[in-house]
């Protein structure tokens, strides 16, 4: 076991996969010589050379197009889109090209590629550098959507994403880059689509993703002080979605609260709530509650951004509402 930051785990994961498989290449803006704007890819250029670790122009369509064309012809590219907000300028590649090509070609084309991107708020960057856009991705048939909450999971899930035969959108939460966690020695590879029960509990199921996981855990501590025993599930991926783990927990607790960083409408929690309503309604003992950012762009100032994003206190309030 060693302690590692979420940021360093990104470089460790990419290095693990590039060492294993010479067809893995990595491209993006400022990722090679500079080591990335979040310093999450430091050292890769030195280790793997400029053929495989490549700086690009500021041209997001060119980046994802290059990744797609390379993936369909024998490479396994990892493309970085610096901030997830910038996915909007290359969304055609994501939504129309990468996601649909296997289907439209009746399975002729495989696109084993990963798009890594810095997602989410909490770093006071304002509305164009703070969005949580995992819902945009989840809505599109044909791509997998992953968002780790710990350094260990960054490695395990990024490795799984690189090895996956399907395109994966990999959301790294910017507010987590500096966080630390224990990481075991040796190769780490997980399976996509497995949620983790990070806290067992009998009274309520709290389902969270990425930066909302530590907040849900903090809320569970507050609730424990009141004698409420909350289970916390780290979803880890939205597609595939681990309905089994959620449903098993909800059946046991009778209460569901989702915690989403994204703005309210069509957030992933709405999908989870609808599945649970359809399939577990008779196991529920109270309303499903969604705790989200309100339906607003994220403001920049510390006081405003903190007020917008789900806090442990708001999660606690959501749980009380479900239990009331």
């Amino acid at each position: 076991m060693a302690e590692m930051t979420y940021r360093d785990a990104v470089a460790a994961a990419i290095a693990q996969e590039m060492e294993r498989d010479p067809s893995v290449v990595f491209l993006g803006e400022d990722v090679a010589a500079a080591g990335g704007v979040f310093k999450a890819t430091v050292g890769l250029l030195d280790k793997f050379g400029p053929e495989r670790v490549v700086d690009t122009p500021i041209a997001e369509q060119a980046i994802l197009g290059a990744a797609m064309g390379a993936a369909m012809t024998g490479l396994r590219p990892i493309a970085e889109i610096m901030f997830s907000d910038f996915l909007a300028v290359c969304w055609d590649l994501v939504a129309n090209e990468i996601a649909k090509t296997r289907y439209m070609t009746n399975g002729q084309v495989s696109l084993p590629l990963v798009i890594r991107t810095g997602n989410g708020g909490g770093v006071r960057f304002g509305a164009q550098h703070s969005q949580s856009v995992e819902n945009w991705a989840m809505m599109i048939p044909g791509i997998k959507v992953v968002a780790p909450s710990t350094p260990r999971d960054v490695i395990g899930l990024l490795a799984a994403a690189v090895r996956d035969p399907d395109p994966v959108l990999f959301f790294e939460q910017k507010s987590l880059y500096a966080t630390k966690g224990e990481v075991e020695e040796g190769e780490i590879v997980d399976e996509l689509g497995r949620a983790t029960v990070v806290r067992e509990g009998r009274d309520v199921t709290i389902v969270a993703l990425a930066a909302m996981v530590p907040r849900a855990q903090a809320a569970a501590e507050l609730l424990a002080a009141e004698g409420i025993d909350a289970a916390v599930i780290d979803l880890r991926s939205l597609v595939p979605l681990d309905v089994t783990t959620i449903a098993n927990s909800v059946v046991a607790t009778g209460h569901l609260v989702t915690v989403e960083e994204n703005p309210r409408l069509c957030g992933w929690g709405a999908e989870v709530a609808s599945i649970v309503a359809e399939e577990c309604i008779f196991d529920l003992d109270g309303p499903i509650v969604r705790v989200t950012t309100p339906h607003v762009p994220l403001p920049a100032a510390e006081a405003l951004e903190d007020a917008a994003m789900p806090s442990p206190e708001r999660i606690v309030a959501g749980v009380r509402h479900s239990l009331a």
């Binding site: 122009p57 012809t73 490479l75 055609d92 497995r194």
Partner: protein, 352 residues
């Protein structure tokens, strides 16, 4: 409006090795010319038939014909190596046939049949046959130029000497992806050949009225440190010459090319378009420059017997008739296909 409009670029000979610009490159070998003629006839016959089948209600949806533009696709198909990559647009029937994709599955795809190239899941605008190097037909303007770069980049990283060829229209030169792709191809010196088929119109708007330079592709080449190349896209021999030289340069590691081929679509933009907006004179002039009769005339003048040409024409027509019959005899795709091949496991499962 523009005080110093760039002068029209002159015809440029094959960029590599040519000592002086020549307007008349050496004619291709005889067997290549006959093959080009046969291929263009098959394309012409195929698309006319596709149109007839649409009128009969046997082809549904939309499709975009390349009638009149056959020489561009045919010449590149002839010049490419079997393992080279083609990227085409929704106007991609010709480019697909040019790679040797059999006509039956292409026709069946247009008709939405089980034996279609993609079993009916793609349709006319997305023809793809990876085993023939036909890496896809893309229907959102611009994106596939960036994807062609990726295939070329991959060839370079993998150390093969494959080349990617990417076809698109004049209208595509005004979208951002065109410029992102050209810049990256030039900076990374990728083995990719970009072929702009300038048919003078985007959908219903003349390209000149919305473009800052006179030649939409050649006029932009300089911005990417590439030589401007303007060719007669209705001359199969000229197209073959530029195709072979630009592919050879790319294969040799000398980087990308941007070619503007002047051509004309005989019909409307798509099925729904009677193309009434085009000046009659313009249409008449271009019909006179139809690449097919022109090529027959040239081959005959160079000594190919009329009977030999007649025979090729009859055989091409027979191929079209046979393909139509076979495609029409095919069943509709099983509805089970709806939820197949979203993901690599063969299905559409998004949950566990």
């Amino acid at each position: 409006m523009f005080s110093s409009r760039p002068k029209p670029e002159t015809m440029t000979a094959p960029a590599a090795g040519a000592s002086a610009p020549s307007l008349a490159p050496a004619a291709p070998p005889q067997e290549v010319r006959l093959s080009l003629y046969r291929r263009m006839l098959e394309m012409r016959g195929f698309e006319k038939r596709a149109y007839d089948l649409f009128l009969q209600g046997l082809v549904k949806g939309t499709s975009h014909l390349g009638l009149g533009q056959e020489a561009v696709a045919a010449a590149f198909g002839e010049a490419m190596r079997p393992d080279d990559y083609t990227f085409a647009t929704y106007r991609g029937h010709n480019h697909t046939l040019a790679r040797g994709v059999p006509m039956v599955p292409v026709m069946a795809e247009l008709m939405g049949r089980e034996t279609g190239l993609m079993a009916g899941k793609g349709g006319s605008m997305h023809l793809t046959s990876v085993e023939h190097g036909m890496m896809g037909s893309y229907a959102i303007i611009g994106a596939h130029l960036t994807i062609a770069n990726g295939a070329a980049w991959s060839a370079k990283v993998r150390g093969t000497d494959q080349v990617a060829v990417c076809f698109f229209g004049d209208g595509t030169t005004n979208i951002g992806a065109f410029h992102e792709a050209l810049n990256l191809a030039a900076v990374w010196k990728l083995p990719v050949v970009f072929v702009c088929e300038n048919n003078l119109w985007m959908e219903y708007t003349p390209i000149g009225s919305v473009t800052a330079v006179r030649q939409p592709a050649a006029g932009r080449a300089g911005a990417y440190n590439l030589p401007p190349v303007l060719v007669d896209g209705n001359d199969a021999d000229a197209m073959y010459a530029i195709a072979t030289s630009s592919i050879a340069r790319a294969r040799a590691g000398e980087g990308p090319a941007l070619i503007e081929a002047l051509t004309y679509r005989h019909g409307g933009h798509s099925r729904a378009d009677p193309a009434k907006y085009r000046p009659e004179d313009e249409v008449r002039q271009w019909l006179e420059r139809d690449p097919l009769p022109r090529y027959r005339f040239r081959l005959a003048a160079d000594g190919v017997a009329a009977e030999a040409l007649d025979r090729i024409e009859a055989e091409a027509q027979a191929t079209v008739d046979e393909a139509t019959a076979q495609a029409q005899a095919s069943a509709e795709p099983p509805v089970g296909l709806v939820e197949k091949d979203v993901f690599a496991d063969g299905g559409a499962t998004w949950r566990r």
